[in-house]
Symmetry: D2
Subunit: 261 residues, 4 copies
């Protein structure tokens, strides 16, 4: 069965900005989805901010293996309840690819627990993406580096937690560096942050960038059954202890009572 | 100058439960603060849930080097605005010790980005805390293990991110294990989670537990100046680039315009 | 194409000790290989200490995707040159499963850079293996824990580096805990250490243990082309720099000269 | 009591190369030691390759809190027995600073378990060292970045394990990036790798570089008593188990017998 991907796009500049419209006539989300769908083992659809529930109903999320997230202009417009649904699904095992300005999305900040800030410059300068972890699945098919001819500079410090793995680090014409490909796990869900993707340049039409996204979908896909009750804190009563024990001393909870939250 | 610690306590069971009241006549927060104040390099005061602003005004937090957090019955009663202030201070570099049932506090869940769930049993069983990272500063003065004669069982899976370091792992009479001492960094702030501390047992009067808390305060203390603007994402304009570059191609932002959030 | 596994066994106690001989009439290595070969996507063969070159010629290693290592009585008898060949192949991307007393093998100590010591007791006591990272590929098909009815106790501190992931932690009857399933990456190679496997108990006949080994083979398998020159430190001469630069100032090396090692 | 540092230098180019001799009339090791000794809490002496036992007797190592290591031309000339003594002391808790071309030293490769390879170019180009972990103790007193006007380029992939922390990443004129400040722990010992330090440029006279070295010495210093028996694997006999157990089933070892290695 193919990996079921939902490509989420904010779809604002895609419609309102002439440059972006020309580069991505069907919106960036469709350009990304098309690139993914060129792979037989991936089945990508799209969802956007302006749709009811941002196109991310609980039912749809339940049937999503990997979600990709691109937003920029209106992070604040994403409904907090939807954010919590997405986060819960990541914890259950849904993969998440956070793209470019998605570093400041509610979803990513919520999962990282840090500001996720950085420095930036919009000058169309060259970004050279170095492969740090050469045989990592996300780097399959790439050379030692690839270049994005025109890119927005994202500079360190990138205030995220130490990653599980540093896959890419970028060099910029203007003198900065950036950890542009980082992996994390939160609950059962794998997360990949990937920096390139500024909307006024044709970055998602770049074959290397498309290769990264295809690889990352496969890497983030967790075939295990969703861990639905991951946020529960079940009581294991004394009588059900794996080793025979006797209750000693005082107690706060009556037998069978749920814990505090 | 001494390390300035605020010991935050929920102070509900301390007042309402006869067992807890007897064990900690001045509340657990004062028992913890007293243990810390026995060290010349630590200066601990307390704050509690029922105080205005939970005793954690912005001014006070600004003068706090390390905060310890114990809550259990009313995590939901902690004001979200205060939570954000605490989180911001951790990002700036304030140390944080999260104690026992604080695993489910808003502050800890916010910083971890995970459910922070576990399994539990209140049977007064023995917990043997094994030192995994023997020469870690937090383990200074301990033997290969120490025992908490009566403890609440906390069992795996503990749904937190992979830690920076695993300092302690606990063995329980009833057959479970738990990663009972874990370190993290979020922004510039160091975080230590420590499991023992159920309120109906005299755990914070235990010399080994007190040693851990004293050590952890020193470990979590970051003497660097607070990183106050850590959540900002400053623009580095083209003219101020470290290497001479020229703007190429289209642009989304007018010169000097702030980024989206 | 199936994953090509070589199951390496020391094959000393398998022949010399009556208990082991009875449990594993064809040796432990064959019991492990048989368990792996029950999976269609795995093709396992065996190699043993007493064979020429320990059965691990450069040619054979070059065609091995994943190597499993069990040794106990004669770690010192493994030829250093073979150890280096194995290590080189791990760096190139070959997966490695280190089993039980293999913690003290030359290969594992070489790749960890630490003593890899632990405490131990041979009492046939029960080991309860807790799954810490529940939806990790290595834990597929397991419940929250499984038990090894008779096991050798391995206790902390286990002097290995902080792992990439803690997959299992074990509880023992006698009061100890042990991080019994740990993942690492060294070069391009993935490494999994798994503790259960003392030879006088029928541990490799246990279905849960077999499931772990089958899962771990798949997890450790890196389909990328071997990174053969990973240990080289190539010069990038000035004329071949990606950005135009001019040589400034003094130099140690003549043009084209190799670096020191 | 001051932190006792031994600054180890290969001292070959320092004597044989006219450029290096002019920059460092007393050798690089003395330049580094002088910079450290300007701090009241540090007491640095030196040792060099050509001295008996490379100046690193067991007695001297036993009284060393932190060792710094610079070598380049003759890594192979370092005696394997001395390497093992150094490694053992790191495991016991001695801090280690590995400098520049020390990435290929026997000591560092031994502790990492990886090739520690990289790419390089000697062009006197500019290296801009970005601070990734801004309030880390090793970055105290630095700005967001500092520049080494003339440096040897070291490029990724740097084949080391994922670090505990990424403190610095460097940008080079010629288009490469490099993780130039990385932390590790091996046994009880803290290790910091720091890239700048090519001998034909006056890098160790640079105030920022000196600040990094002074900070790193303090960070790497572990005041805990040395963990001398860290490589032992002690038996915990059945009769001494912490929980009462009875021996069940067959056994490999006679009572009191040492384990295999």
């Amino acid at each position: 069965m193919a990996i079921r991907v939902v490509v989420w796009g904010e779809n604002i500049h895609d419609r309102e900005n002439a440059t972006v419209r020309e580069l991505y006539p069907n919106g960036m989300h469709n350009a990304i989805a098309d690139a993914l769908n060129r792979q037989n083992d991936i089945e990508a659809t799209t969802a956007t901010l302006e749709q009811p529930g941002h196109g991310l109903s609980a039912e749809r999320l339940a049937e999503t293996d990997v979600l990709t997230w691109w937003g920029h202009k209106d992070h604040g417009g994403v409904d907090d309840a939807i954010v919590e649904q997405v986060v819960q699904r990541v914890w259950e095992g849904m993969g998440l690819l956070v793209l470019h300005s998605g570093h400041f999305s509610k979803v990513f900040k919520r999962l990282m627990g840090t500001p996720c800030s950085l420095t930036w410059r919009e000058a169309g300068e060259k970004e050279r993406v170095w492969v740090i972890n050469r045989n990592h699945p996300i780097a399959a098919g790439l050379g030692p580096y690839f270049e994005v001819p025109q890119s927005e500079m994202y500079g360190e410090p990138f205030t995220v937690p130490e990653p599980m793995e540093t896959v890419f680090i970028s060099w910029y014409d203007g003198g900065e560096v950036f950890r542009s490909g980082l992996t994390y796990q939160r609950g059962a869900g794998r997360i990949f942050y990937f920096a390139p993707g500024h909307e006024v340049y044709p970055i998602y039409n770049d074959p290397n960038v498309q290769t990264v996204l295809q690889n990352a979908v496969r890497w983030a896909h967790n075939p295990a059954a969703p861990w639905k009750d991951i946020a529960n804190a079940p009581n294991r009563p004394v009588g059900a202890a794996l080793e025979p024990i006797e209750e000693k001393g005082p107690s706060l909870h009556a037998p069978g009572e749920a814990g505090f939250r």
